[in-house]
Structures are given as C-alpha cells and as structure tokens.
Symmetry: C2
Subunit: 376 residues, 2 copies
C-alpha cells in the first residue's frame, strides 16, 4: 500500500446486514455534518428536549429520566447496572447469550452478588424459571435480562419476566439494545424499571450512543443508595441535572453534539414512519428471509415462536467454509453479515435486518450474492 | 413555537470561542457523513491503525496502548483513573481548578484514598509542592494533575511535576484535554504514564471521544492488579484487545464509526499543518487577544508566565452584566464564549482560541462584537 496515514480516509460502501451497525439513511449522515454548536447553547438544549420526547415514545414511557448516555450500548449497560447495584446486592441475571454473560461481568465488577440463571443459547428466558429463582432466594433485589439477544436472535417475553419480578418485589433491568425500533417495547406497561438501548440497530443511527430510561422508582432507589455510584460519569443523578430533569441545567460533561444531531434525525425518521409500520416492515423482511432459507433447504437456529425479525441466525449449511463465505460477501459483494459468537462461532450466520436494513430488496440482494459465493 | 419535535433540526451557525467545543472544519463534518461501515470491517481496522499512529504523534509517544475511548473526555478521565487505582491506593491529586476537583471525585469513587494538594485557582501546580507532599507520605502511589486547566486558563509544568513524581517512584496520570494540539505534549520525554485528552478542544473535532495513552509500565501495573477494573467497558486490557494491541482483535464494544471518521480527518489536518505550526498559530491569536484586552484597559486572570494560549480567562470589567453580555454575543452575534466556573463564576469570561478557532481574525470578530454589546 502506498497509503500514508495522513491521507484522507474514504470508507467503502457496504450493505450492512450484520448484527449492527445497520444501514444509515443519507439524511442521518447529513444531519451529523451540521455545524457544531455549544452544548449549553439554547438551541442545543431544545434538541435535548426533543430527543427526550422521541425516546419516551420509543420506549413507551412517561419516565422523566429518559436520556442518552454518551457512549455505545456497552456504556449504557454499565450505566444501568452500576447505578442500581451496590456492593453485596443480589442480582438475578438471566443468561441466554453473550449479552446476558456480559451483564454478569458488569454487575460483579460493581460488587454485586450475581445469581446466574442460565438458558440454552438459542432459547428464550423463561418467566417461570425467573419466578422460581426469586421464590428460592428472597434476598434478590434485581432481575436483569436481555429482551432481544443479538448473539442468537431470540426474543424473550419481557412482560412475563417483569411480572415474575414484580411478584417478588424485585426491580427489573432490561437490555433493549436490539429490540427498540424492531419489536414493541413498552416499559411502563410491563413494569421495567431500567432500560438501555443502542442507536446502531433498529434505529439506524451510527453507533456511539446509548439511550436509557429510569422509572421514578429506580431514581428513588438511586437517590437512597448508601454508597456513591462507582463511576462519576455514569452517576444518573448528575447526568439528569445536565439533561434538565430537575431545575436548572448543570454542566456535567460535554455532550457529543454531532452524534446527537444524527440521533435526532434517525428517531425523527422512525417516528414519522410510525413504530407499528416499522415493526411490520421488519416482520415482512424477516418472513421473506425465512422463506429464502427454507427454499434452499437450510435451517433457522431459533424456533419460530420466539424468533426476532431483526436478527436472524441461520445454521451454516454443512460443508460450507464460514469465514470464506463472509469474506467473499464483504469484499466481492460489499455485503456484511455477522459471524456466530461464543458457542455459536462457526455454526451460524447472523443476518441483521435492522432499521433501514429491514427491506425485502436487501434480502434479495443478499441471497443473490450468497448463491454466487456458494457456487464458488 | 410551532415546532413539532419530529421536525428536522437545523442548528444555528455559531463562532465557537468558548472552552469547547471549538469550531470544526467543513472537511471534518463531511468526513463524519461518510457511509457507516462495520466495526470489524478490514477497512475500519485500517482506520483504527492510522488513528493510533496519529495519536502517538500528538502525544509524542511510542506507547502501544494508544487509542480512543468511545466517550467524551470525562470518560477518558474515568478510564485512566479507574484502570490505575484499586481500593485503598493512595493518590496525590494536585487541584487548581474544576478538573482537578473532578479527578478527586473520580478517584475516591474508585475506592482510592485521595491526598489533595490544593493551589489557588488561576495559579499553576507547583512541582516543589508535589515533591514535598510525596516526601511526606511514602505510601502515595500515583500523582494526578491537569496539564492545561480549562476552568482557569493555566498551564502547569508537566515535565517538572512528572520529574518530582519519578523521584519518589510514583506513577503519573495527566489530564491533557485542553493541551493536545495547542501546546507541546511530550509524554515519553516527560515520563507521564497515563494521559487522556478530548477531541473538541485544540483538535477541532466534535465532542464525544477521548484519546488516551498508557505507558508499558502502566499496562504492566494494570495487568498485575489484585482486583478487576470496576468498569467492564473501561478495562484497558480488554479495550486493547479490540484496538489490536496484542494478537487478534477481539470484539469488545461497537466503536463509534462515524465519530472516528471525523477524528481521523481532524488529526490528519493537525498533522498536515504540523504541530509546531499549530502551536505558533495558537500563540499568535492569543497574543493578539491579550493586546486587545490591554487596549481596553482590561486584565487577564492568569500571569503571563503560565498563561495558556488556547484558553483565555479575562476578568469581567467592573459594572458589566456577565450573563447579558454572553447572551447578546450568542444570540445577536452568533459568538459563543464561556462563563467562569466555580469560584470564578461571574468573575471571568473564558475565551477559547482552540484549533480552528485560533485565528487572529476570529479575535477581531469577537472584539468588534464585544465593543458593540458593551456600548449597549
């Protein structure tokens, strides 16, 4: 390569059908290129208020404490877990994929006592098992789970899990990174206390931000902590002062201005289309993909009953070279799909039909390319 | 207002002469609007390698562990402090402004025993005092300080402070948020073990990222910790695996792709201009500002000997309504300047001449507007 590291960087154009990031609309990219303004500018404060209103709609919540953490979904996870747990607190973590495992790691670093509740990868979290685990240990204060497991493509029944938690007075922390914008998320109705999502999945915004929401009960809990939140940056009571939760705005950190322009435009597009229309579009693209899979005699990893439309784990057909196929799709056809993670590495392909990516024509483009690659 | 929250957002055009964000070049904004690609795409991995090389140049370091934390400078602070300290560790924190105070808060939440060393706001950290404090308490493991205090406009002598720490075997953590790109930063030569900066100051990139660098000694120290880093997301040993420090890249989090496109272009512009040329440009704009201040019979807060060129604290002239002037500058003239923070609130204006903002013509624009506003 003759490239110097100070040469301008021009990325290739890819069709993003992996587990995220998803394709970003030109309007969102253009919004990110608007001139930067100050993070205490009245115009910016107006933007923050609008973002909050749009996020409340996406989460189906009235929670005042609804805002965006200035880091990717993993930081949202840190923020939600570390604000809630204190050293010695017992937390039940339902694990049916990579992200449940990660939550355990986050909680135990935060000093919590993790009670794991494991399910086979590719299966959902069962509310009855959550109920039983809570009945068996009355000291458990929190239940955490992943609504839509990006590592497997499984949707768990959040409403039933939250109801099981409520029965035992436990508070609920939900990972909605891949669910928001792709399937219904109704945190007030379900009784979810704390939720985080990402921007690079069904909202089709570039990665780097994590919208979160805390119920009044969660905020009350945080205010009554015996110890301070371990991370100054993530302390919700302080971040809320910046996002205008109570009284005057106090400087906390410098918000990622241009990224938030992008999120505003991405959320605007989601809401102008309408959440229900977006869900139907995801479903349609997904069913088309499943039909193409069946046509070829291949199999989906996950049972139909709890399959996510936006993340499709396809069992890699026998005799096929996983890495070679993905590389050829990417480099010869400019299509990105995802590899299996953890125990599913080499066993599945993960096809994301997320946000702007959830279109029948993209599924057709993918299968046309896949057929070519497989023919060699 | 007839505005609906789902209307597109178009920010006003402001001249950013506050404490950050600084003005962003159109080329950087355009780079952020390039199509999003996957964070494990070979093209993106190439971008990460180039970013690392450019950051090494900016920090004047050979440190392998040089990369970008996916959050604003405050997250960089969390990352640097929380990776180094464990519960019970003694850390000397030199405090001469807001950001030294914040470091104390971060370290104590991380379980460290903070030994504060306070200086008057507007004065630099004195190496002799650091030496004396370390001599008085042999248990202190770390020295932390802010190289360029954004809250006051003071430059401290990093070389002398790091030398004092070295004399007593203490490791050095430096906040270089406002210094990188505006004044020389030579971490290898000075013996700084851990450093973080921001993108929205003298690098003139939108806020949201925090470049960091860890010396081999710091990495060794982190690897030998008795306890895990409190934040999973910030654990440098894991982030490094993602940035390709040792062996194959492992998935950690989803990098903020488009923000990193912007940083690449911003760093490229800094290095193509040349760091020394950029420093001289900052100095020239600063001296012009000081001359304009003197011409009006006003005063700078900070003594000439340790004044930062990129952050100028001007004492607010007697009888002037601080908030009214700043509001009029912003709303009538589209110029942002900064308010005083903490004990300096209402007493100073903070004029940032950072990165793209460090130009004589911007100083002229500002003073022409200021004169108009003050005439009423």
């Amino acid at each position: 390569m003759n490239r110097k590291f100070t040469d301008p960087f021009l990325p290739p154009e890819r069709l993003l059908l992996g587990p995220g990031p998803s394709p970003v609309a030109p309007e969102v990219l253009k919004a990110m290129a608007h001139s930067t303004i100050g993070h205490l500018d009245p115009a910016f404060i107006g933007l923050m208020d609008e973002l909050k209103a749009m996020l409340q709609t996406c989460f189906n919540t009235k929670n005042e404490a609804t805002f965006t953490v200035a880091g990717p979904g993993s930081v949202g996870m840190d923020a939600c877990v570390l604000n809630m747990v204190e050293a010695g607190d017992k937390i039940l973590i339902a694990r049916n994929g990579v992200f449940g495992m990660r939550m355990s790691e986050v909680a135990s670093r935060g000093g919590a006592v993790v009670v794991p509740l494991d399910f086979e990868w590719g299966k959902p979290v069962e509310a009855a098992a959550v109920d039983a685990a809570l009945a068996a240990d009355k000291d458990i204060k929190f239940v955490a789970f992943v609504h839509a497991e990006t590592s497997t493509g499984v949707l768990s029944d959040a409403k039933a899990i939250a109801a099981a938690a409520a029965k035992h007075g436990a508070m609920v922390i939900m990972d909605a990174v891949t669910s928001v914008g792709g399937v219904p998320v109704k945190i007030d109705e379900w009784g979810v206390d704390v939720v985080y999502t990402g921007t690079q999945k069904c909202i089709s915004c570039p990665p780097g931000l994590s919208p979160v929401s805390f119920s009044p009960r969660a905020i009350e809990h945080i205010k009554n902590r015996k110890t301070k939140v371990l991370s100054w940056f993530l302390d919700v009571t302080q971040v809320m002062a910046y996002w205008g939760g109570e009284g005057a705005r106090a400087y906390h950190h410098t918000a990622p201005i241009n990224a938030l322009y992008g999120l505003h435009e991405a959320l605007r597009r989601v809401l102008v289309e309408g959440l229900d229309t977006a869900f139907a579009r995801h479903k349609k693209a997904h069913l088309h993909l499943v039909a193409e899979v069946k046509k070829r005699g291949w199999e989906m990893l996950v049972d139909e009953a709890y399959r996510l439309p936006q993340l499709n784990a396809i069992k890699i057909p026998a005799g096929v070279d996983d890495a070679k196929v993905r590389r050829s799709l990417l480099l010869d056809h400019n299509i990105e799909i995802g590899a299996g993670l953890g125990v599913l590495a080499g066993k599945v392909w993960r096809i994301g039909l997320m946000g702007e990516g959830a279109r029948v024509e993209h599924v057709d483009t993918l299968f046309a390319a896949l057929d070519k690659v497989l023919k060699g």
